[in-house]
């Protein structure tokens, strides 16, 4: 009788302790997790007049809170990709000498279709659609296929 009573008391105290620890740590850990910041859903941005953008060059534009790299090739064709390297989050740049997209952090290289061709990047860069409306470059999210 007395052992089962002791067991019961131990269980009660142990459970109470666990509950108490939970009531301390749950709010602390929840506090550490940052609340989501409301983000305006950006679908397209203007990137300036076509004439101001020289051939064989690239620039980083703001697409909401994300950087996007816009490239004008030798042919004058415009392409845009997510500028965030798929390896470790650095911001890529256009190399006018090798005509490739290059990440300086770990020497990752993408071709001008955004495909990872050498170095550590595991995935290609996401592509963005580029349109020209009234001589102005418009970069927008690719339409989901299907």
């Amino acid at each position: 009788m007395s052992t089962s009573r002791r067991k019961f008391i131990n269980l009660l105290l142990g459970g109470g302790l666990l509950g108490w620890l939970g009531s301390i740590f749950y709010p602390v850990f929840s506090y550490l997790k940052p609340p989501p910041v409301p983000e305006a859903n950006v679908n397209s941005v203007k990137a300036g007049p076509v004439a101001d953008f020289p051939k064989n060059s690239g620039k980083i534009i703001k697409f909401g809170r994300k950087p996007v790299i816009l490239i004008k090739m030798d042919t004058g064709e415009l392409r845009a990709f997510s500028a965030t390297c798929t390896h470790l989050d650095c911001i890529v740049q256009y190399r006018d000498d090798s005509k490739q997209i290059w990440c300086a952090c770990h020497n990752g290289i993408y071709d001008l279709r955004g495909r990872n061709v050498s170095g550590p990047p595991p995935r290609p860069l996401d592509e963005f659609a580029v349109n020209i409306v009234n001589d102005e470059i418009i970069v927008s999210k690719m339409k989901e296929i299907g």
Partner: protein, 360 residues
């Protein structure tokens, strides 16, 4: 007259706190003297540099203002406007680097003299935790000036943490205070750098020092086998302490020389919408890991290269921390000493990868 007052104060304290046994203990404690005695001083040097870190860090706190619009500006203000501000910041950066260096020296000397063996297992483990915390200090402090190099190093470093299977994403978001490295990250790193790690570090350091004091200095095997009359020793107090202090003075001079003649620089301000510049690199003590990750292919087996790298370094780090519990006993009849081989291999790997990192 002066002596009398001193004695009076001592007696007053002694009556209340019973100091005499403590002083006697320190006087009776002996430090062995032998050809490897020099390594006994390395931990002390690291401790001294930690004290310099605390003092210079407190001075920097008086002017530093965390924030996207103020971090960089306040560090520049410290370096250009505040009297001797450039010196204080330079001392803080240099002593941080020297501290990590001496912690490494201290650790490897402990490893090679096998001082981690029973009964000093926990001294080794606490020492390893201190090394990890020191690296945490370096990583979190690196971001605070909010310059270009700091920004990308932090992006990469926190993204690496994000590659850890299952919990990585949560760790990354908690560290960054959101999806990206922003002002929220700066606030968090500031809290980590000036409050969380210092508190933890102080506790672990106290334990580490308590263990060392309680167990005394480790004696290498050949010294242990000497006859008692052949063992040369010096008293811990005052002889050893005075030598320690002399060395600290030398280190302080070297530190000031470096801080004055090679002042720490501040790069261009971080811009979250600029390409990463060439030559992005972490602090030198992360270089060997950074370089290894760089050399790994995109995919190793079924994992992404970075995941495999992190896994490998985590396992290796854990094994290193637990060295006292798996270390292979050296049989004197055998020519080959496996622990010596492992230690040299680890150092060779670190040095090789570090040099490669700076060359490539």
């Amino acid at each position: 007259m002066f002596k009398k007052t001193n004695e009076k104060i001592y007696h007053w304290m002694d009556e209340r706190f019973n100091l005499t046994p403590l002083i006697e203990y320190m006087q009776h404690k002996q430090v062995p003297v032998h050809k490897h005695s020099v390594w006994y001083y390395m931990g002390g040097v690291a401790l001294f540099l930690f004290i310099v870190q605390v003092c210079s860090g407190i001075l920097l706190l008086l002017y530093y203002q965390p924030g996207v619009d103020s971090s960089y500006e306040s560090v520049r203000f410290i370096m250009t406007k505040v009297n001797f501000g450039w010196l204080v910041r330079s001392v803080h950066s240099w002593s941080a680097n020297l501290m990590v260096f001496f912690v490494f020296v201290h650790m490897f000397s402990t490893f090679f003299t096998r001082a981690f063996q029973k009964p000093r297992e926990l001294t080794w483990v606490t020492g390893f935790i201190l090394l990890a915390l020191a690296m945490g200090f370096g990583f979190s402090g690196y971001l605070l000036p909010w310059d270009e190099l700091a920004f990308f190093a932090t992006k990469v470093g926190t993204d690496i943490a994000g590659a850890v299977p299952f919990i990585g994403e949560a760790i990354k978001i908690v560290l960054r205070g959101g999806e990206d490295v922003t002002g929220a990250t700066l606030s968090r790193f500031y809290a980590i750098h000036v409050a969380m790690i210092p508190a933890l570090f102080t506790v672990i350091l106290s334990l580490h020092l308590l263990f060392v004091q309680r167990q005394g200095m480790h004696e290498p095997d050949y010294y242990k086998n000497l006859k008692p009359e052949q063992k040369k020793t010096i008293p811990f107090f005052p002889n050893f302490v005075l030598r320690d202090v002399l060395l600290w003075l030398i280190v302080l001079n070297v530190l000031l020389f470096l801080a004055v003649y090679f002042p720490w620089e501040l790069g261009p301000k971080a811009d979250p919408f600029a390409s990463a510049p060439e030559g992005i690199r972490p602090e030198w003590y992360f270089m060997f890991m950074f370089q290894s990750l760089k050399l790994l292919p995109a995919h190793v087996w079924f994992m992404e290269g970075e995941v495999a790298g992190i896994l490998l370094f985590s396992v290796a780090g854990l094994a290193w921390m637990l060295t006292p519990f798996w270390s292979i006993k050296f049989d004197k009849s055998a020519r080959f000493n496996p622990m010596l081989f492992i230690g040299i291999a680890v150092i060779a790997f670190i040095i090789f990868m570090t040099i490669l990192g700076y060359l490539m």
